[in-house]
Subunit: 555 residues, 2 copies
């Protein structure tokens, strides 16, 4: 057995959909030279991460080995693959490689964080290869929903590994290169040690449909509409924005893009020449000047995000445009689990305005950008890897994908974040378990998911917050009564007296009875006051609030 090994270590994206970050290494154990594939974000919610702005992977393991990091490769420009590079680049410091469109987006992100955009290097597609230490990495075109999506062909002295990136098998994807089975067979013909593969749609039993299939459906819908038509999709789904714009154009409408992210993405696509023949767009002011039946808006906010264009139109006005009775609003998108309530809120707001809402209607106006189960089988058949390692999925997706590989006689490896897999030799093994987790961007600060900050916020949200203030004089005697401030708690409790008065009364009695030892000891005093406040609240209002005790000693 060689003393060198190939390792694969997901730091994000394996056991969740989002914040992709996959490490590959080659070399002697613990001395491997490393590359990182993708560095993405995921999005917070009120449920588990209130107040957080963005969620990034925990890259501590990699940061501590930055001297071994040769390069970062970005497969495509979706936020869950490229969104964290600005936040983390300083901690990693390696060159970033991506194809032209992805690099354009990546450079914008670097500039937002005041990093040099020159760190991002534009790579050509396969058969070009980028050398990075012991690796040679090629960008192998594959269809997805954004231009220039690529799998990575990762060559090591011990053989070839293919990292699929996000993909679907679409021969007419509208943007990006079509699925080319001959090219993939050619690349795979001398043997592929491992296929690290997108698992998102492993539970979807039918073959995936082409982006080209929905254009005519959307055109028919738009043609029949009597008022203004508004369509929303992910801003970064460049293929869909194009499908929508062309359908609107063919239906004789002027197209107007609303939402900063949407305009920026199309701008980058045009700048880099990957989006040709996009219909001429008009600005929002012009859109208000022409008859509404001649206008089609394409807007951000398909997931119900409160600040995006869709939500603002649903609340009333956006960029001077107001929807009204007889207009049509199309969700050309799938609602990501967890976003349903926000999306439904918008639907009902439009309903109140008399706007007709159409959603994906079981696939008529939306197709997924990911490979379904039969497509995963097809890819395996073309690549014929020794091993399939599912990624880009929750645990249930990865597990099902392993089962799928096994059912076809292949070795499948279930590797979640933090599991370092040794891909050398003939059967992969778990080399090590590495601690992983999440990093929160909170305002302008990065905090660890386990720092307790968010836990305290959730506690205040569930239980309310009582602040107890006590002043003691030089002799540790209470000066006046203790008093309370309440936040997020009902005013009146069981005694039909204000909760604050009942609390202050009970706290005062406690202070009156407290011995010298308690009064002289901050911890004891705080503990006692906290206990009384919680007990009283429990009796009065049936819940135990968070309590902060502020003891002031005059001295």
């Amino acid at each position: 057995m060689s003393s060198e090994r190939i390792i694969y270590l997901p730091l994000g994206g394996a056991g969740e959909i989002g914040m992709n970050a996959y490490v590959y290494g080659y070399g002697a154990p613990d001395k491997e030279r490393l590359i990182l594939v993708d560095l993405g974000v995921t999005f917070p919610d009120m449920d588990g991460t209130p107040g957080v702005d963005l969620i990034l992977p925990d890259i501590t393991w990699l940061r501590e080995r930055r001297d071994r990091l040769e390069a970062i490769f970005i497969t495509h420009a979706h936020e869950d693959h490229v969104g964290a590079i600005g936040h983390f680049w300083e901690q990693l410091g390696a060159p970033i490689h991506a194809r032209a469109f992805t690099a354009n987006i990546a450079r914008r992100k670097m500039e937002e964080h005041a990093h040099s955009p020159e760190t991002v290097r534009t790579a050509s597609a396969w058969p070009a290869q980028v050398e990075a230490g012991p690796f040679k990495v090629g960008f192998l075109p594959i269809s997805h929903s954004i231009p220039e999506s690529s799998a990575l062909v990762i060559d090591t002295p011990e053989g070839r590994v293919i990292h699929s990136g996000d993909f679907k098998l679409d021969k007419t994807p509208l943007v990006g290169e079509p699925w080319d089975p001959e090219l993939w067979a050619e690349v795979s013909k001398d043997g592929v040690k491992a296929l690290i593969c997108d698992s998102t749609n492993v539970f979807s039993p039918a073959p995936g449909r082409s982006e080209a299939s929905i254009g005519p459906e959307i055109e028919a819908l738009v043609s029949e509409a009597k008022g203004m038509v508004v369509a929303t999709t992910f801003a970064s789904n460049v293929a869909r924005v194009k499908t929508l714009a062309e359908a609107g154009d063919r239906a004789g409408r002027s197209v107007c893009l609303l939402g900063r992210a949407m305009r920026r993405m199309i701008e980058a696509s045009v700048e880099t020449g990957v989006l040709k023949g996009f219909p001429k767009v008009i600005g929002p002011e012009d859109a208000t000047q022409i008859p509404r039946e001649n206008v089609m808006l394409i807007v951000t906010g398909s997931q119900g995000e409160r600040r995006a264009a869709s939500a603002q139109l649903a609340r009333g006005k956006y960029n001077g445009i107001t929807l009204k009775e007889g207009d049509l609003f199309l969700f050309s998108s799938k609602t990501i689990p967890g976003n349903e309530k926000g999306v439904i809120r918008i639907m009902n707001q439009f309903s109140e305005m008399g706007v007709d809402v159409v959603d994906d209607a079981g696939g008529r106006y939306h197709v997924s950008g990911h490979a379904n189960r039969p497509d995963l089988e097809t890819l395996q058949d073309v690549v014929k890897p020794q091993v399939v390692v599912p990624m880009h999925g929750e645990h249930r997706h990865l597990r099902e994908h392993v089962k799928l590989a096994q059912s076809r006689g292949r070795t499948g490896v279930l590797a979640v974040n933090g599991m370092m897999i040794d891909l050398s030799g003939n059967s992969p093994t778990v080399a090590e378990y590495v601690e992983t987790g999440r990093t929160y961007v909170d305002g302008t600060v990065q905090i660890g998911a386990l720092d307790g900050v968010v836990r305290d916020r959730i506690r205040m949200a569930l239980n309310g917050h009582v602040i107890v203030t006590v002043i003691l004089d030089e002799d540790d005697e209470p000066l006046g009564e203790p008093w309370c401030d309440l936040m997020g708690l009902p005013e009146m409790g069981r005694s039909h007296a204000p909760l604050i008065e009942v609390l202050e009364e009970d706290l005062s009695q406690f202070l009156g009875r407290a011995g010298d030892k308690t009064l002289a000891d901050d911890d004891k005093l705080e503990e006692g006051l906290k206990r009384v406040a919680r007990q009283t609240a429990q009796a009065e209002i049936g819940k135990k609030p968070e309590v902060t005790v502020v003891v002031s000693r005059l001295s």
Copy 2:
């Protein structure tokens, strides 16, 4: 025109799915004698109602007119129809009428709130009628997913109104009476002024399927399973619990019910004789004693509720039972929008344990308890009402249901919570707009949704909380420095110094510069300190926290 009128006033359930509460009245304007149909709850979430235990309608309007309230009628025993009677009965004080099974559940709820169960009177099914002031009200059987679900035939001196309750058109519903079109035609033959009708599934285009259709599918699934089988559904979906238990029984397994709500619901069904031939069940201890391939658990928690049996099994153990590799978990349920993340969390936890998870699989293992679009058309054709008033739906459902009625040549009225509709004469009109809203059960206290309590909790969760304490002496001079306590905020900010120190430094400087007028004025002082704390936090960590200022004056 008569000086009497019939009114319909939804206080809950029209513009949302949940907390149903519909008022009907008959008499001279503002002197109508009233009845209330249903009094249900809806459920809180972290997004909009953190810490809240239960959401009830705001019944202020009705409470202020309780002297005119003749009776309360409950159509069926689901929480969104009966759940609030214990909480509100004291404020309303009218007799409650329901059929035997519903009354059994209602009495349990009354007892939980220490009200006399005798207030709940058992009604017989149509053609029996209950007299309530000018009304005669009959319970007209209709199929749903719980025993004895009924529409209400509401007779007034000016004619007949039918309130559908929740329903589906199922000729083999397993529990409850089958849909009986002849009976409904007979009841409707002399003319129905208005059909107030369930709208939940108006967007479902195919005719609804019978509960009886899924038993064989479930049986096949259970028969093929190698390990323990666990199925979850709503505890109150008695029909489904029966379907599951019988399928398990036929597949040769002993059935064990887990979860308090599940056992209680089946107990009430058996007590009142509405559930016959339910398979013999075993206790959890016995379930651990027999081979796991002979056991089928039916458990609570189909919506991912953290404390229910499903979630506890997913976390490890419940009632001594642990799932393991090779077991099967079936969601015989639909996930209610907003609950997806909780359900998916459980699916992934089971996946980690090696348990196979099956969900409704596009209807194979679940059918809805509500009427689909063609079924709504059928009911309209049988009842032939002058007017259709959609209820039990969000705005978009009500609007679509109105359109559906209109497309069939009927008058449809879109009435949301608070819209009082005058149903007298030939065309309904809006008589009045009444203020409605939500009441939160928070611990043991009822609070109004607009009281600001929950708003403050959400703010603390999003922004964190800073407490600033300042002590002033008898001459309004600061005694020592101001200090801070933080909760839910990062420790370090931009200056790479502890946030608390930077805050205290800036607040101290402010105090040092503050003039006598500011120092003597609590409001000014508080305002100034708050402003400084928020500015400093914004500069340090990029967010503005909630700030509570506690000023103590020695005097």
